[in-house]
């Protein structure tokens, strides 16, 4: 067995979880990433090996600390232990026990010591207006802090919608000029884990991939890991059959709503929002508790241009129903169901032939008889 190669006793002590629970967690994460058992063991090994844990610098910008809070309240047992021991969290404004200039000094020290090796997590938007004076930490603007930390980071993860594309701060009229980390750090690759708050499983999965393989998972054009954001909510939604059959709830509490019909008419943004909520459920709460599960239309919190931008009850664009999805083209015909030009011509020819034949027959009527004589 591959697992006998590792010594889990130290890990069990350190994380305060049983070997069984720990391996179950790793297998679960690997499965949601679309990886097999081998990857799960590789992940387990990576986590068990203390030397492999990357140092993490965690910055907070304009935000509500929702992503961190979501992470701390994750459903899996002892996850806070895991996430805190899985990585070496050197600097985190919410979770650090210390405070003030001492902690700021430690951050600089950690960044210097682990040059090119640390993982930078950005949480919150970065305000650019008026030289970034709208957000300052320890006397340093978020603009400077982000630029400084990104300089020597091995990888950058934008955690939450605010860090990914600006979030609620960036909504019109955006007085602080808030932008997300990818828009600010244009020359760097930034992995984004959007959501308000984002699903902690999406973060843990991405970080575990990084820890295990030393590189980031495949991402899409907006920096989102494809394993988590590759599909629209609409594609995996369990209310989807109601959508296809035209059964819609039209107002809260009506017959359709009580029967669990599709929430599209109530403004559900599932058809234009890329996230894995239907399979993992929003915020990893479990038990069917996510917006669409409890009968509320999806808000589109993780989708740039949707959450905080489109009105709550306005209809969304249905991105699944676009070409080259299976639609009959304008010229499509069912087999043998219509008169074509050829059949019309043939019918016309038949009529013409009948007319001509009768005329010829009439003219020949007498001739034949006279010839016979």
């Amino acid at each position: 067995m591959a697992d006998t190669e590792f010594d889990f006793s130290a890990l069990e002590k350190r994380l305060n979880v049983s070997r069984r629970t720990f391996l179950k967690f790793c297998t679960g994460v690997a499965a949601s990433l679309g990886l097999g058992t081998e990857a799960a063991y590789a992940m387990a090994e990576a986590v068990a090996d203390k030397k492999k844990r990357p140092p993490v610098i965690w910055l907070h910008g304009q935000e509500c600390t929702g992503p961190t809070e979501a992470l701390l309240r994750s459903e899996q047992p002892s996850l806070e232990h895991l996430i805190l021991d899985l990585i070496s969290l050197d600097y985190h404004q919410t979770l650090d026990a210390g405070a003030g200039h001492h902690v700021e000094e430690l951050k600089r020290h950690a960044m210097q010591e682990n040059k090119g090796k640390y993982l930078l997590v950005v949480e919150g938007a970065i305000p650019l207006a008026q030289d970034g004076i709208f957000c300052k930490i320890g006397g340093q603007t978020m603009v400077d802090a982000t630029r400084e930390a990104a300089e020597n980071a091995a990888a950058i993860v934008a955690y939450g919608s605010c860090a990914s594309w600006g979030g609620v701060q960036a909504a019109s009229p955006n007085p602080t000029g808030a932008v997300g980390a990818p828009q600010f750090l244009k020359d760097k690759t930034v992995v984004t884990i959007p959501g308000c708050p984002p699903n902690p499983a999406n973060f843990i999965g991405t970080v575990l991939f990084f820890v295990t393989y030393g590189k980031l998972p495949p991402i899409d054009g907006k920096g989102r890991p494809k394993w988590a954001y590759g599909r629209l909510i609409h594609e995996n939604c369990y209310r989807r059959p109601h959508f296809d059959a035209g059964r819609f709830a039209t107002e809260f509490g009506d017959e359709g709503h009580q029967k669990g019909w599709c929430l599209y008419k109530l403004g559900c943004k599932g058809p234009e929002t890329y996230n894995n909520c239907p399979s993992l459920e929003f915020n990893n709460v479990g038990g069917g508790v996510w917006p669409i599960g409890v009968g509320h239309p999806c808000f589109g919190c993780s989708e740039e241009g949707t959450g905080f931008n489109k009105a709550l009850f306005s209809l969304s664009d249905v991105k699944t129903h676009t070409p080259p999805n299976a639609f009959p083209t304008i010229d499509s015909r069912e087999d043998a169901s219509s008169a074509t030009v050829t059949t019309a011509a043939l019918a016309g020819a038949a009529v013409g032939a009948a007319l001509g034949a009768s005329a010829v027959a009439g003219s020949k009527l007498g001739k034949k008889e006279s010839e016979q004589e």
Binding site: G246, P328, K364
Partner: protein, 324 residues
């Protein structure tokens, strides 16, 4: 009567009949004042096909199964079991909705319920009739002789004959008002309009729908408009949406005398498969020609006279020969 007199008379009467007919050429029919219809706004359609499913459910039609693996309805065009279908126009990379270039657009195919319907005009047994009050083109299976002339008389390829059935009948949308269903008579709306989540298929009187369509034409692209859903005269709900750049063309306002089911879109209608039709109803033209030719049975009389003369000329010698 000698040959010369006979030809003179028959040609003269034919010419008279022809001139009388031209003078009587009938104009386009007018829409019924209480006519009901539907307005399809291509820019609102999201392609969910809820209307196709609703249509099949309401009318009791079976799904169109293609191949052995697919177990869902995949109708490609109107068919005996499909009265309504959503099709797509695509161009280039197919990225932008309602864009003629590098875009796509949805289009509904169903009976247009013409004001001056070709199928009704050509039907020899009045199995197809336009309802004088609602303007719905209805079909009577008991009167139908299965000649399928209506299929060639329709410019939109709407009437469909089930060739596989030995007792085949014609099938088309009757606005959910056929015998046994009668949704309109019972104050309900069509199945497709009721199911449409965006109001892309809007139900109502032809007059109210035409007003709504004209109102949309007048809107400025980009401004927010409150789109009604269901029945335009008493909408079940509204939803707000930015106005697209509409083509200033309401298909069915005037085409071939107008239709009760009208379409509006952001791309030209020829791209959406609409036939090139002028404002003059082709039915009025063909009926004028036909009724002229057959007025007082003049032309048949001429043809019969001609044939009779031909026969007589060629058989005259025989009679004489016989006597000899």
């Amino acid at each position: 009567m000698n040959r010369r007199d006979f030809l003179k008379t028959s040609l003269g009467s034919a010419a008279m009949a022809a001139t009388a007919g031209v003078a009587e050429a009938r104009p386009n029919l007018e829409p019924a004042p209480q006519a009901i219809g539907m307005l399809f706004d291509s820019t609102l359609c999201v392609g969910c096909k809820a209307c196709v499913t609703a249509c099949k459910t309401v009318n009791g039609n079976k799904p169109t199964i293609v191949g052995e693996d697919l177990q869902w309805d995949s109708a490609r065009d109107l068919a005996p079991e499909t009265f309504n279908v959503i099709k797509v126009y695509t161009d280039g990379n197919q990225l932008t909705k309602d864009s003629e270039v590098d875009g796509f657009a949805f289009e509904k195919r169903s009976c247009m319920h013409c004001v001056d319907p070709g199928c009704v005009s050509v039907c020899p047994v009045t199995a197809l009739v336009k309802d004088p009050v609602t303007g719905i083109v209805t079909y009577d299976v008991d009167a139908c002789i299965g000649c399928r002339t209506c299929m060639t008389g329709c410019p939109y390829n709407v009437p469909q004959f089930d060739y596989d059935n030995p007792f085949g009948a014609l099938h088309k949308c009757e606005m959910c008002n056929q015998k046994g269903l009668e949704r309109i008579n019972n104050g309900m709306m069509t199945g497709c309009a009721e199911a449409c989540p965006t109001g892309a298929t809007l139900f109502g009187s032809r007059e109210a729908l035409l007003d709504e369509a004209k109102k949309r034409m007048a809107l400025k692209p980009g401004e927010v408009y409150n789109y009604p859903r269901g029945d335009v005269r008493d909408p079940s709900s509204y939803h707000e949406k930015a106005v697209p750049e509409y083509r200033q063309h309401i298909w069915g306002e005037k085409e071939a005398g107008g239709t009760n089911v009208m379409h509006i879109s952001s791309i030209p209608f020829d791209k959406l498969g609409m036939p090139p039709l002028g404002e003059r109803s082709f039915v009025s033209i063909s009926e004028s020609v036909q009724h002229t030719l057959y007025s007082y049975m003049a032309l048949p009389a001429v043809v019969l006279g001609g044939l009779t003369w031909l026969v007589k000329r060629n058989t005259d010698g025989d009679d004489e020969g016989g006597e000899q």
